[in-house]
Amino acid sequence: MPLTSDAPAADAPERAGPPPTEAPALKVVPVRHPARWAAIALTAVVLAQFAHGLVTNPGWEWGVFAQFFTTETILRAVGTTLQLTLYGTALGFLLGLVLAFMRLSDSPFLKTVAAGYIWVFRAVPLIVQLLFWFNLAYLYKRIDIGIPFGPGFFSFDTVNLVGAMSAAVLGLALHQAAYAAEIVRGGVLAVDDGQLAAAAALGIPRLRQLRRIVLPQAMRAILPNAANEVISLFKGTSIVSVMAIGELFYQVQVVYGRNGRVVPLLMVATVWYVLLTGALSVLQHYIERHFAKGATR
């Protein structure tokens, strides 16, 4: 029962004793926060100064920014960046899923292979790996498909097979897979054992247990980490500018190399990165909401 001062009086109007004294109407005075107000004032001043500087400092060259922000070269570069992110994420998480289940399997061999992969690909800096792939043709002149260690049926010249763009996607995906594997594994481990026991006791086929029972629940733990990875891959694509691929960062470098307007062009790239990261966060919110079905928090 809630503890209120007037409830008993209302419940028992006929009780004996002296009549209840009229409860005076009291005014509630909220506690004051002088320190908070000081912090707000200070922050507002700093923000205003910063905004003032953005507008009035001619160094930002907003005219140049506006001129280039939506030119075709830049838009095409944004497209390339998004492509690299999409393919890198899709392939990376696909391979990561396989690696995660290898590492969770009962086979010591599969476990070790997956753990070894994760070790190596987390250890090698992305840029070093990308340059390796870019120079694959130097290592393996041809790739033959056929009987292992035996005669080949098909063969490709690696120079034609691994163009700059596919080398970049390959590098990003293989790098991403190592991290994705650990994120997926963490998500699967977070699912209660009892869920698998219940699914097994019901005779649900193995793959369906994973797809329908385990993964949807694992997604709740996977998604926030996966979103971090996608966003960091999205920005990480700027590394492939070393391979002369026309993604966003490479393209603004090309433009400011020609016209010397470094700051406004860096702002072009920055604003695109910020806007698209915002869009990814919104997407994350909706995907997380989808997988929160039946959850209380």
């Binding site: 869920q195 097994a200 006791a201 019901l202 005779g203 997988f291």
Partner: protein
């Protein structure tokens, strides 16, 4: 009457700990067997060997005349493939102490999942059957709720409906009321009693002595991985022959 469950000389160890030390038990078709015993005596492990959630180290378990988890050829036992083990399990319903409902699926989806996935029933038929089962456990209005929106007693009744959806020959209950608040125990026991009256073959691990007295055909007392004694409830509960049984009963009664 024929034997629905036949457990012969079953042993099981976890590492160096011997959890089952030679269990022999027969459960006849249509009968209710209640298993009692102190915590850690191996009751859950025994129950889990009956549907091969736990592999035995030696001995064998048959359900309805079929070896569980193995195929016999001459004097050799061949381990079944996982696919065949999963198929055997569809004949054996299991109800867990902590329900283990699928939290991201609605009550209806929880119940239809196995009939659709394992028995290849059409979704429509499975849903119609699921609604009948929900009616039977008194939860017809909860079909679209998620498990976390239900009380523990309601969740356990859904879990029973989920097990029944496969129309199993045998039902196994592992302390179905131990995780419930006292006032919710009755509603779950009522559902199980109802099943018992309709002649469902069951093995029930429980500490509810009143329930055992009322519905059990056989009461089994386990301690330290062995069956200490078994018999009709009147004998085991009222006139136990072994000191350990007496000591246990004096604690739970």
């Amino acid at each position: 009457m024929s034997a629905m469950v036949d457990i012969r000389s079953v042993t099981k160890s976890f590492g160096s700990v011997e959890v089952l030390r030679g269990i022999d038990l027969t459960v006849r078709t249509g009968e209710v067997t209640v298993v009692l015993g102190p915590s850690g005596s191996g009751k859950s492990t025994l129950l889990r060997t009956v549907n091969h959630l736990e592999k035995v180290d030696s001995g064998q378990v048959s359900v309805d005349g079929q070896l569980v988890g193995y195929r016999r050829s001459g004097d050799k036992l061949y381990e079944l493939r996982e696919r065949d083990i999963l198929k055997q399990r569809t004949h054996i319903g299991f109800v867990f102490q902590n329900f283990h409902l699928f939290p991201h699926l609605t009550v209806l989806e929880n119940i239809t999942e196995a009939p659709v996935a394992a028995l290849k029933r059409s979704r429509k038929d499975a849903e119609a059957a699921a609604r009948r089962l929900l009616e039977r456990v008194g939860l017809a209005d909860k079909a679209d709720a998620y498990p976390r929106q239900l009380s523990g007693g309601q969740q356990q009744r859904v879990a029973i409906a989920r097990a029944l959806a496969l129309e199993p020959k045998l039902l196994l209950f592992d302390e179905p009321t131990s995780a419930l608040d006292p006032e919710l125990v009755g509603e779950v026991l009522d559902v199980i009693k109802d099943l018992a009256q309709q002649g469902t073959t069951m093995i029930v691990v429980t500490h509810e002595i009143g329930f055992a007295r009322e519905v059990a055909d056989t009461v089994v007392f386990m301690d330290d991985g062995r069956i200490v004694e078994q018999g009709p409830p009147s004998q085991i509960l009222d006139a136990p022959r072994h000191e350990r049984t007496r000591a246990f009963l004096s604690k739970v009664l």
